[in-house]
Amino acid sequence: MLVVEGLVKRFGGFTAVNNVSFKVDQGEILGLIGPNGSGKSTIFNMLSGTFPPSAGSITFEGHEIAGLAPHRIINRGIGRTFQIPRPFRRLTIFENVELAGFYGQGGNRGSHSRAKADEAAEKALAMVGLPTDRQAPVDGLGAAGLKKLELAKALATGPKLLLADESLGGLDEHEMDQAADMLRKIRDELGITIIWVEHIMGVLMRVVDRVMVLDHGEKISEGLPSAVSSDPKVIEVYLGTDADATQAAAAEQRR
């Protein structure tokens, strides 16, 4: 479905992502982990068109998409959430999602109508468990609610591939489990392929089919969760150094 080859991103003299290649198959959940600054978000920003890669190719369903404008990539069927939720506070919850349903699926072009956008918004809100009430303001939402809204916006754009960026930061353990189950439900019920970027290894490992580990912009390990978590390279650069991971490991032991 998605084939990434030799992806490179340089910011001035600094290489944030260095020659990373990977594949995502239809219907799988790929976990993307790595310490802070390992290049996870940079890869996401290239996949979603926020900025173009310095080199390499990104092929989605057989078409080259590297360097396309964000709205074009969304319209091809790649939705994304942001690490820190970015709701539009001047709009209501429903309008936030309706907007994504309208423009994310082609906007003014073609026969896409507002009624279809409304329908997409209702479905997406129901999926993540937010009220479909049209008047509810964004300001009433807490951290978990904002993450759900972020997810609903991405879903309303009608993605075939969902890029979920660190969707668990700032949640308590119970909310984390719920969010993880939510991603699995989105894959199982809507058939959406997912790439999930996350610091917190424990919960992620439970849900994903495959994991890819990044460090300093390079891929250091890839495979089944069980294999990756026992890979000595991963333990050294990731579990050994990152405070989040230590916490996550502790959390997993308690489970």
Partner: protein
């Protein structure tokens, strides 16, 4: 809103249409026509301003509308019916030329305001520099017609002008209403908060911003052309340049930037203020209105950022002023 808007609008419009047939005081009618034309210009500015696109270049668009129409009439004998569309085309092209690079390269906020400020300055300089054609800072007068008044779009009867200005003003409000109800408004609200997040929702940010900018510029140019045809005298001070651009910002901030009739309330207040100063202080007070504008502008931005009408409507709806201010930064 205040009454049921379903009835308030048709009744209000009917009263406004009937007015010149009942009340014929030429001075008052003159003030009303000016208020309507400026209200339309301010409404045009707010189309962008309400979404955080603060343009200080609208004096330029207005100047292009007025001068191109008048020059085509005087030099080529081209009727304003053809001249105005050409003037609008010029203003639209100018808007695209200035706005596209700004939006493409993400020049936003203060920087966008500064780029557009330069546009105002440039249009003003061009008018002054080509004084052999435009009369420079002395101003310019479209030639009085010897033929048909309709072809020349010149009317002696103030009632005719009043009705034209009223129709155009209503058209401006209608455009506001249509945008307000469209998905384009959601897109623009989203863009004004967070361009990246709007793009991630599938919005073509550059296109949406360009579209609203061109609509706004075209409307402003039309206001300039109408002002020219009505007053039969234009000068860089009255329809172009930085002063006019600032006057637009001031009037809209005072009236209310986020509500449809806010710019109209702003036009009423600024014109009445200018007339009041002119009548009571005469020539001694030339330029005083700008001083008063400046002081009021500061006070309004600090204490009533939603403007007079916006704050009144909030009060009627029971929203505390301060609370909504925090949510809607200008």
């Amino acid at each position: 809103m205040i009454m049921s808007p379903r009835y308030a609008w048709p009744i209000g419009v009917a009263l406004l249409i009937a007015l010149p047939f009942v009340y014929r005081d030429p001075y008052h009618l003159h003030i009303l026509i000016l208020i309507l034309i400026w209200s339309f210009a301010y409404t045009s500015w707010s189309m962008m301003g309400r979404f955080g696109l603060v343009s200080l270049g609208h004096g330029g668009f207005m100047g292009v509308g007025a001068y191109v129409t008048a020059l085509l009439w005087n030099h080529l004998g081209l009727s304003p019916w053809i001249g105005i569309p050409i003037a609008l085309l010029c203003a639209g092209t100018l808007a695209l030329l200035v706005a596209y690079p700004c939006f493409r390269f993400r020049i936003t906020g203060h920087y966008f305001a500064l780029v557009t400020l330069a546009l105002s300055g440039i249009v003003l300089q061009v008018i002054t520099a080509t004084r052999d054609w435009t009369g420079g800072s002395l101003g310019y007068t479209p030639e009085r017609t010897k033929g048909s008044h309709i072809v020349a779009l010149q009317f002696d009867d103030k009632t005719v002008w009043y009705l034209i200005a009223l129709a155009v003003w209503l058209a401006g409000l209608l455009i506001w209403h249509l945008i307000d109800r469209s998905m384009a408004r959601y897109a623009m609200e989203a863009i004004s908060e967070d361009e990246d997040a709007a793009a991630a929702a599938g919005v073509n940010v550059t296109f949406e911003k360009l579209r609203i900018t061109v609509i706004s510029a075209l409307m402003t140019a039309l206001a300039g052309a109408l002002y020219c045809q009505y007053q039969m005298f234009i000068s860089p001070d009255t329809v172009s340049g930085i002063a006019v651009s600032l006057q637009m910002v001031f009037a809209v901030v005072v009236g209310g930037i986020y509500v449809a009739l806010g710019p109209t309330v702003g036009a009423i207040i600024t014109l009445l203020l200018a007339e009041f100063l002119r009548i009571f202080f005469g020539t001694k007070a030339v330029g005083y209105d700008n001083l008063v504008y400046g002081v009021l502008l500061v006070l309004f931005i600090i204490f009533l950022p939603k403007g007079i009408l916006g704050s009144i409507l909030d009060r009627l709806k029971g929203v505390p002023v301060r609370q909504t201010v925090a949510k809607k930064p200008a």
